[in-house]
Structures are given as C-alpha cells and as structure tokens.
Amino acid sequence: MSEPIISSLPAGEAPAPEASAAPAVNADAEQVGEPAEVRSVAAARGPLVMEATSLNKVFRLGPRASLQAVRNVSFGLYKGAVVALVGESGSGKSTVAKLLAGQERPTSGLITLNGKPIDVRTGRAFRHYKSQVQYVFQDPFSSLNPVHTVGYHLARPVKLHQPGVEHVNEAVIALLEQVRLTPAAQFEPKYPHELSGGQRQRVSFARALAAQPTVLLADEPVSMLDVSIRLEMLNLLDDLRTRLSLALLYITHDIASARYFADEVLVMYGGQVVERGPAEEVTQQPAHPYTQLLIASAPDPDNLGSTLKSGNVIAGAAGGVKAGNVGPAAVGCPFSSRCPLADDKCRRDNPALQLLAPARAAACWRLDVAAPSLAGGTT
C-alpha cells in the first residue's frame, strides 16, 4: 500500500514504452494542446470518490502494430452521481470501465479511489479493491452461471466481501428485496434459466451490491433488455444510487437514456473524450460534430418517417457524415475521416478538449462552425 501501482509509468510520460517499440496504429495522433480542466456538474451531488487522470491504454496487436484504445481520458466519479460514457462500439468506453475495474492496467495515467492510487497488484489487494468497486456486465444471459441458483450467486460475494456477516441467508434475502425481486424467498432457489432478462439483470445488480461497493461500473446494463423493461431497470439503478449513495459510471451507446439518467455525459470517439458536459446541455445543444451525429441518429418518434423516407439520412449540422463503416482516423482528429467539417488542420492535428463553459468542453478545431453559439464566448 505504498506507491501508485497501476501507474507503472509516471503520469503523462509519452509515448509509452510499448508504443515506442511498436508504433501504434494511431501513434501520430498525440493531442495538440493541454486538455481543459472541466468542473464536473456531477460534483454537485457529493464528494469525489474515484478519479481517472490522463488514462492511456495501448493494446499490442502484433510485433509491429499496436492500438491506442484509450487516449488521455480524465474524469471523476462523485458520490450519489451518475456519469455516462457514451459512444459506439469500439470507441473505448468499455476499456475505460475495465481500467477502472482493475481488470486492465493503464499504459499510463493514474486512477485514484478516495484520493489514493488504486492497488490491484496482489490477489488480496485486488479483492479489497473489488469490495469497493463493482462491475455490472452487459449480458444478463451469460453473466450468471447456469448451474447455480440465484441464492448461490448472491451468497458467495456476501461471504467473500462481508466476512463478519453471520446470517448469510438473511443478507441474500435483503439483497433480493433491494433489487425488488420479491417475494425474495421464492427467487432464491431459482436458476438463471427460470428468470426473464430483466430479472436476471436484477440478480446481477444484487450481486454487485453484495460487496457493498461505493462505486458501481455499469457496462451497458440495459442494452440487452427489451425497451419496455429498460426504463424499469434504469429507475431501479437510479433508486439504488440515491439510497446507497453510489458513485455510478453508466456506459451506453444510447445517448437518450444518458440524458434521462445521468448528471454528466462524456462522449467518446476513437478512444478519446470528444465532448463532455451536463447531460441536458450536451443532448440539447451538442457541440462536437460526432455528438451531433449521435443525436441525429437516435430514433425520433416525432419524425414519423420524414428523414428516413426522404433519403436524407442525417439531418442537421452534421449533414453529410460518411457512412458508419469508415473507422476513426489514424492521424489528426479521430473523427476527421467522417466529419463533414474536417479540413487540413483536423486531418493533421488531434485537438484536445477545449473549455466551452466551466462545466463543458469539446475537442474540435471547427467549433466555430459546428457550434457557433457555444464557441463564440470562450475561445
């Protein structure tokens, strides 16, 4: 418990050793400029619990290639607050969650929990860490063991993380009631296949809560569920967050649910945070062209067929965005390969987050065009 274990490199030292040995696929995309200090709106909910500073993660793909999955990501999780990480598949959002969960180690950067750098080096330290930081998986159909009962799934973490508890069974019942699987005694002996998707995800929540964590990392907790069940799940999470004062990281590709559920939204693209700010402001007045694209792509019931049927696929400021099968750019701004506003500078230099308001920032060279009303005041 002495030194920052997980940041084997001093924070900010770049490029990382792996990257220099094998140039990253996108190694030339170092950000230009210092990323802005953003005053998170989530801080209004409670004190800082967990903080990520300048996280980088480089995966080696082979002897001569590597991929930077996370670049320079910094944010904080606050007690009783929800921070949403929004982005498409491959944007690096799950990698960030795995870094926070201690499942992967960052190539550089620092993660602190309650002010102390996290330590997951030994089994004992990792277990201690897991009792404070818990992870909820996306797929309730494969994250529960089919040969064990609900009671077994919950009794194990109770025994492991609350060694003082005498009546494990009562603790299990209490957990089931907490996630509103009632009557709890009826659910305890059931096997996962006897439960619906929503019920299984409740068991996953209960399992995470069994450790009595302070931080909950929820990786797409509702995306495998039916639309009619999703809202109930989000409401349950919201309720648990308030009652247990959890610091919650909510990972999703559905920016509409982030608006409904989160305090702060961070939009990721190509491993970087391209925009962040209060959920309502980011969704109502998106600054980055990628955020604008995400919002224009969300199904809009009020549209009643107009945009799809006229062939005008993406409406609004992000019009003319290239199809989704173009990957992030290797050099310059990751979105420049798809962005209709991209110019030579965008294709050459990767922008760092610039402050738009005390609690808002976006990483874009063309903010004057993409969001003139926001860019005017501060730049």
């Binding site: 509409a256 409904y260 969300a298 199904p299 019931p301 009643l304 099968n325």
Partner: protein, 350 residues
C-alpha cells in the same frame, strides 16, 4: 390494393411437457405490396413465432394449430388465385423461399458461417435459387454487395473481418439475392449501435423503393417503427393488441399497452418528461387468463376486460370531427374494449 401476404386466424402452440404454450393466438395481419409493416412486441410476445409460423420455418415442438397464410405475388398467381403457404407441399414451398419470401434473420451477427468467405455464402444463396453459369453467379454476388454499399474486395473476406454493420448488410444482400417480393426482417438492427442502425435503416428504405418489395419488420423498439413503418402492429402475449398507421399509433395510441410502450423510451427532444415504463411482467402463456392478456399490468382494467374476445375493432374517436379510426386510409384497430364505442362513452378513459 389487395394484400400480397394475408395471415388470417393464425395460431401457433409449443408442445411442452408442462402443457401447450400458446405463443400465437388467432392473429390476423396483412401486408400490401411495397408496404412496410412493423411488428412490435417484447421478448416472448410471439412476434418471431408469428413470422416463422407463417412461413413454415418452425419445427416441432412448435405446431401451427389454425389459420391460413395466403400469398399472392405477381409471379405465383397468374390466374389471380392466391396460394396458401400452410397447405403447400415441401417442393412448392422450396420454390417460394428466397424467390418470393426472404428472411433476414435475427442475430445476423452470428448467422453467417464463420469459416466461409462472404463470396461463397452469397454464391450458395444464388446457386440454390437461380440457375446461373458460374461467371454470372459471381457477377451477381458482386452486384449484391454493390447494392448494400460494401466494396467488392470484401467478397474474399471472412465474416470476422467485417464489422457488425457490414455483416448485417451481407445478410440483407443475401436475402435480396433472388429478388423477393416480401422480405421479413427479424430484429435486423438490434445488436448495432445507433449510427450504424440508422445507416442500415436508410439503406433498407432505399432498397425497398428501388426494388419494390414489401417488408414485415419485427422489432421490440417501437420508437424505431414510428419512423420506419407505414403501419404498425403491436403484439403482446401472442395476441395483436392494436394496429394502425405510425401516425395514429404515435398520436392517439388506443391500447394501454401501446401507451405504456410509448412512455417507455427516453426522448432526446422536447422537455424532459417523467417516464413510467410498464411495471410487471408478461403472463404465462401455458395458462392464459380469459380475456385481455394485459389485464394484470393494466391500470385501466375493468370487469368487461375479462370477457373480450380480443378481435380487433375500429377505435372510437372523440364526439366531433371525422372518425380517427381511419387515418390516411389505414384503419386504426384495437382489441381494447374500453376504447371501443360502447364503453368509451361511459367515460372510462378520459
């Protein structure tokens, strides 16, 4: 216009040791040429079973117990006689598949054979349905990829080398190999993220306009259908609860379940409203309650609800003005008794 596909009174049960599961119960649904009909319901509502039952793709223990599925495509019915899919021989059925009715399967992410190149899978579909010399078959495979906007050099790729969106496009290309008149799409975009989903939907709409096929689009996401479909059918516990134009469903949802669905998805636009969702879970289909299956979760249920026969009736409108049961020539029907004329006059729903 007379329907190209007319499903009437279709019932499907799954024979299980614990009793029959009545997965689809006396469903009527039509699809007109060039129309997009959205079939919406949660997991286990029977929406996929309905589609597979109607195209005879189900295997025991599933059993079609009643109904007919009349198909009247232009190539099949020279004399204007529709054919009943449920009464066909296997040989006739084989002729129908792909050429007349094609399906884009659920979880297309995994529906491609991982050890075959894209080209070989497309050629399989082409060879099975069209008698083409090898060279022409190859050209056809390449032009199918063009159709869905995938570069031709991907013909030699394996599925794992393609992104989710591209795999989905290959599945769509494959379904269109033999120029079908009806394409059934079972949750084609469910595993994809929103931007890719929108690209694919736009592609589907564009292909539909160009090649003029009708689509039965199955999904659990009503918000998607509101934009995409001409007509929407809402299914719950094996029954159709409501059908109508997208506009009618959106503006004047009649069935409490539809209203619950509409109130379930967070909206990006407009003011941030309180969302309710639908508490409770679907009923056990082994032992259905009499009347409306939604009663246990319905906040409006009245005694009459246990006696309804679940046939669809025109939705009653407010006292004045044109009847809203007909919007743009599409009738708005519901199985809910408390919004049909006799009961709504008593002011149950206000």
């Amino acid at each position: 216009m007379s329907p190209i596909l007319d499903i009437s009174d279709l019932s499907v049960v799954y024979r299980t040791p614990g009793g029959d599961v009545r997965a689809v119960e006396r469903v009527n649904l039509t699809l007109s040429p060039g129309e997009v009909v959205g079939l919406c319901g949660e997991s286990g509502s029977g929406k996929s079973t309905l589609a597979y039952g109607a195209t005879r793709l189900l295997r025991p223990p599933a059993l079609v117990t009643s109904g007919s599925v009349r198909y009247s495509g232009r190539r099949i019915t020279s004399g204007g006689h529709p054919v009943d899919l449920l009464a066909m021989s296997h040989k006739e059925l084989h002729e129908m598949r792909w050429r007349e009715i094609a399906i884009v399967f659920q979880s297309a992410m995994n529906a491609l054979n991982p050890v075959l190149r894209v080209q070989d899978q497309l050629l399989d579909a082409i060879k099975a349905n069209l008698r083409l010399p090898r060279g022409e078959a190859r050209d056809k495979a390449a032009s199918l990829l063009d159709l869905v906007g995938i570069p031709r050099n991907r013909l030699r790729s394996y599925p794992h080398e393609l992104s989710g969106g591209m795999r989905q496009r290959v599945m769509i290309a494959m379904a269109l190999a033999a120029d079908p008149e009806v394409v059934i799409m079972d949750e084609p975009t469910t595993a994809l993220d929103v931007v890719v989903q929108r690209d694919i939907l736009a592609q589907i709409v564009e292909l539909k306009e160009r090649l003029d096929f009708a689509i039965l689009f199955i999904t659990h996401d009503l918000s998607l259908l509101l934009e995409l479909a001409d007509r929407i059918a809402v299914m719950y516990a094996g029954r159709l609860l409501e059908t109508g134009s997208a506009q009618a469903i959106m503006r004047e949802p009649a069935h409490p379940y539809t209203r619950g669905l509409l109130n379930s998805f967070p909206s990006l636009r407009g003011s941030r409203r309180e969302l309710a969702g639908i508490p409770g879970s679907p009923p056990d289909l082994r032992d259905p309650l009499p009347g409306c299956p939604f009663i246990p979760r319905c906040t409006h249920a009245i005694p009459v609800c246990s006696n309804v026969d679940m046939s669809l009736a025109l939705v009653a409108g407010p006292q004045a003005g044109p009847p809203p049961g007909l919007l743009n020539g599409v009738s708005h029907l519901t199985a809910c008794p408390i919004v049909t004329p006799e009961v709504s006059q008593e002011g149950v729903l206000s």
